[in-house]
């Protein structure tokens, strides 16, 4: 058994050595840190006229939501499908009971976690709203909202979120994303095209549909991950 592990380690290190040698002897692979972005597609993303056209100060958000908006729709779908898979495997109905915690949460913990819940929710919403200006956006903000729900689940052994509301929110946010894409098709020329004015670079109300889509993504991701948390922390009543 031990010999097998040593052999596996040897093969793994050999594999890493071969990958490293293949990359370091490749003239097409640029050396670390010495990249000219004008040779790449990214030169276009960092072009001033394109930046003004999209209107998002955060270029990563511009790529994720504007240039590759369709890709992000697929990404949200993958997350939805995995949440669906978790719900199918673990079972999700309002009748399920909470898993019992190993300890009894006291009064201070329950009240304190409720006070923290609002603060975490507010930070999450702030990050979602400023996704096109600062680092962050719908995905981290949505996860933060879900972490607030997780806090309530861990600090209170009787807490149970209204899981039906999450499902409705998730469905509405996902549908609105597609509807906004179709509006781009109707009012402009292609799917998910920006049909609102871009505004001034750096303003909260700028970048057209990017903040709207990121709010929808944030709500969808937040409710989906909260649903996953609920599925993991509940179980069917043993008859």
């Amino acid at each position: 058994m031990k010999l097998k592990n040593l052999l596996a380690l040897f093969v793994a290190l050999l594999l890493s050595l071969s990958i490293i040698l293949a990359l370091s002897n490749n003239t097409l692979f640029p050396s670390f840190g010495n990249v000219d972005l004008n040779d790449r597609v990214s030169g276009e993303y960092l072009d001033q006229t394109n930046i003004d056209d999209v209107g998002a100060a955060n270029i990563v958000t511009a790529i994720v939501v504007a240039y590759r908006g369709f890709d992000t729709l697929g990404e949200v779908t993958v997350l939805f499908v995995s949440a669906l898979g978790v719900a199918l495997l673990l079972g999700s109905s309002a009748k399920q009971k909470r898993l019992e915690l190993d300890f009894k949460p006291n009064f201070m913990l329950r009240v304190g976690s409720r006070a923290l819940f609002g603060i975490i929710l507010l930070v999450g919403l702030y990050i979602i709203l400023h996704g096109h200006l600062t680092p962050g956006g719908g995905f981290p903000g949505g996860t933060m909202i879900a972490s607030a729900i997780l806090l309530l689940y861990l600090a209170d052994d009787r807490f149970r979120a209204k899981i039906k509301g999450f499902k409705i929110l998730e469905g509405v946010a996902g549908s609105l994303y597609v509807i906004i894409g179709l509006l781009g098709l109707l009012l402009a020329t292609y799917f998910l095209q920006n049909f609102l004015p871009s505004g001034t670079l750096g303003d909260l109300l700028s970048a057209g549909i990017i903040p709207i889509i990121y709010i929808l993504i944030g709500l969808k991701v937040g409710s989906e991950i909260s649903g996953i948390i609920d599925n993991f922390l509940t179980e069917e009543e043993s008859a």
Binding site: F32, A62, V64
Partner: protein
């Protein structure tokens, strides 16, 4: 040169995936592999003296060098997909535990 550390991390995750027979440890190894790959993709876009690709009043195009935003956007996608796969894998592991009362694949094999 430092980006090859990410490759080593990826390969160590692969090693963990091969030698472990415990489902939870296998999922953790899968995540280590994923982090190694993400770090490598991020490192491709690094530029010396580059700043984060966010336009501010002082960081404008032409005034400063920006790092490549495209790998960062792709890794953002990869992280979200990773969360989905990890959640699904953990759900399968939980189902496995309720059925066999162990997370260990070898022990479950003996019970069969």
């Amino acid at each position: 040169m430092i980006q090859y550390a990410a490759i080593v991390l990826f390969v160590l995750g692969l090693y963990g995936l091969v030698i472990n027979r415990n489902l939870i440890k296998m999922i953790v190894s899968l995540n280590v592999m994923e982090i190694g790959l993400n770090l490598f993709i991020i490192s491709i876009g690094f530029v010396y003296d580059g700043v984060a690709p966010i336009i501010t009043s002082t960081n404008t195009v032409g005034a400063v060098l920006f790092v490549d935003p495209l790998p960062q956007a792709l890794v953002l996608t990869a992280i979200v997909i990773g969360v989905g796969t990890t959640a699904l894998a953990l759900a399968i592991a939980k189902g496995f535990y309720t059925r066999y009362n162990t997370y260990d694949l070898s022990k479950a094999e003996e019970d069969l």
